[in-house]
Subunit: 361 residues, 2 copies
């Protein structure tokens, strides 16, 4: 089986590492030079909207997926005409536009923070008027890792944000109090089988994920069930195939959905060591219609991102049980270069090891 993957970043790299033991072969399409998949798989270098290149890329592939959420939906649809493609390309129309995504959640009865479409300065003022400050102004498209969004606390912030972002279609999101950010990674096979990883707790800084604790500490059955219900509604509506990630805010016993990523996700990396089956393997199994693998947490895990620079490997590997994952990328501020996972039955010892890793960053 030859798998095609749009995007050749670390998610693709880890997908290939998970897929080789299943006897799968990989070909990636990536637009930039020096991608994380270069060392370990075939790749075609081209723009994602170059249909001639897409055709060349697709030749001989059995099935195609993506690891990069900003793949043009039109390219996904183009490939889906000739090949099995997952997740279904329609999903991208929804996922790539924050406003469409929020309206989609509303349609499915999935609770979100209050939001308003902002196409003009007048829309922005009306949204601030209606929902109050603080709030967040976001571009509807192409934001990631905190890019394309600004926190509004004051009238001055509103003015500044409009000047910075006002050229793009926007969405205003009202502020909701929350205790923590959590996410769920779930998989649905083309056979309809589903698997849900436990909710995890995510810690961001400067808009970038720094730490994931899996399962989320003090996770209740009710909260897990609520997250799974959200995922199921999305799965059913799309007849979804593959891994889906939903990021949520927890407030009391309630979840408000923030956004979804229709792909494997940074907050699921712990599953490589922390679960029987990694999110990457289950994504591939889902696409191929193979039975999904067990997705419970074997023990409490922590995943610490390596951002901007990486400590010397020998220092990380000197921490007993620390699993190092480097992505083969050159250092740059804010760039995700790798991660470290620790799986440890004793929670106090887990957090002590997390601190040991963090002390190296």
């Amino acid at each position: 089986m030859q798998i095609g993957v749009l995007g050749g970043g670390q998610l693709g790299r880890m997908m290939a590492l998970a897929g080789y033991p299943l006897g799968l072969k990989f070909r990636f399409l990536e637009s930039v030079q020096d991608a994380p998949v270069d060392d370990l798989a075939d790749r075609v270098t081209a723009r994602y909207d170059d249909e001639a290149a897409l055709t060349r890329f697709a030749g001989g592939l059995d099935i195609i997926t993506y690891e990069f959420e900003n793949v043009p939906a039109s390219s996904a649809k183009f490939l889906a005409r000739s090949h099995a493609f997952f997740p279904p390309p329609d999903v991208l129309d929804v996922a790539q536009d924050r406003l469409t995504q929020k309206n989609f959640f509303k349609k499915l009865g999935i609770p979100t923070a209050p939001f308003a479409q902002v196409d003009s300065r007048a829309d922005l003022d009306a949204a601030v008027q209606q929902h109050g400050l603080p709030g967040i102004l976001k571009t509807r498209r192409s934001g990631y890792d905190g890019k394309g969004q600004m926190l509004l606390k004051s009238a001055d912030d509103v003015e500044r944000a409009w000047k910075t972002l006002g050229n793009s279609p926007l969405i205003f999101e009202g502020f909701v109090p929350f205790e923590r950010e959590v996410s769920i990674v779930a998989a649905r096979s083309r056979t309809g089988e589903t698997a849900f990883y436990p909710l995890v707790e995510n810690h961001h800084r400067e808009g970038i994920l720094r730490l994931t604790l899996a399962p989320a500490p003090n996770l209740t059955k009710e909260l897990q069930a609520e997250a799974e219900r959200c995922a199921r509604r999305i799965f059913d509506d799309f007849n979804y195939v593959g891994v889906l990630t939903i990021e949520m805010f927890q407030h009391g016993g309630r979840l408000l959905v923030n956004e979804m990523a229709t792909r494997v996700h940074n907050s699921g990396h712990w599953s490589i060591e922390g679960s029987e089956t990694s999110q990457f393997e289950n994504h591939l199994r889902a696409g191929l219609g193979l039975p999904l693998g067990l997705s419970h947490a074997l023990h409490p895990s922590a995943m610490i991102n390596l951002i901007g620079t990486t400590p010397p490997s020998e220092k990380i590997l000197a921490i007993p049980g620390a699993h190092l994952h480097l992505y083969g990328k050159s250092a740059a501020p804010g760039r995700k270069l790798g991660h470290v996972t620790i799986v440890e039955p004793d929670t106090a010892r887990l957090m002590e090891k997390v601190r040991q890793v963090q002390a190296l960053l």
Copy 2:
């Protein structure tokens, strides 16, 4: 870091899969077309004794190792002149000759079955006379998976074995009663640090490993300590670097060493899921002088080899917790095409799943 590996089979493939997360790059030297590493790494195709090709292969490499034990010692020594090379090339002189190996064990005070050098029919008769039948006649070089050896039970067998094997330098090994075959995988870093995996129990059929149970059921501390003492003596004598495997017979509370493999080993594959750190990762860490990773068994594990043919993947993956490893090889009788590992705290359930896998073979 660019790692060179002599041999491009499944051991190399799993070594690369273990090394990519450490940020390592790989280049393989392999003499045959269609090798398991082809999909996922650079490779040079050449004979192992082609010095021009070795030089081409070695260009730009930081360190070189092997995954194939019949690499010519002269080639290893040639590469070691210009590059860091592990395990030390001298090891191959000993490991590749069963008689030299047995004499080496004797020198170190490591117990073995009785043995005798056989260079003539008269030698063979003398050996049979001295040690009695049954016994095993083996070629001193190039045997693996039961090839190049014959069991002698009768005078007829002696005659037949001499006709078949008599053209090569031979070793006669006296029969020793034993309850089971076990092996230990151990690693020694270039810093001198050591790590020992638990002794495992191995089940062969037709000379080929079929099943490994890790740790060996009813493993005692004393037996583990005895196996580690053997490994330490070999480590110290060679100033060894990398993973070493020692295959042994257990009789009562005693171990008799059968042979060593100076490389990662089929009986260590369980460690990919069954230990914090796989034998492949620890081999690389050892060569690079990185701290060795934890090598205890997380839970009881079983590794079942897929020989000759592979069942449909969906049948294996339908067994909860079954980890499939396919090597990308074409089917052929007696060929190792993959393996399945199960890690399961409950031993009865582990054995039930083993039977489920075996029922598919």
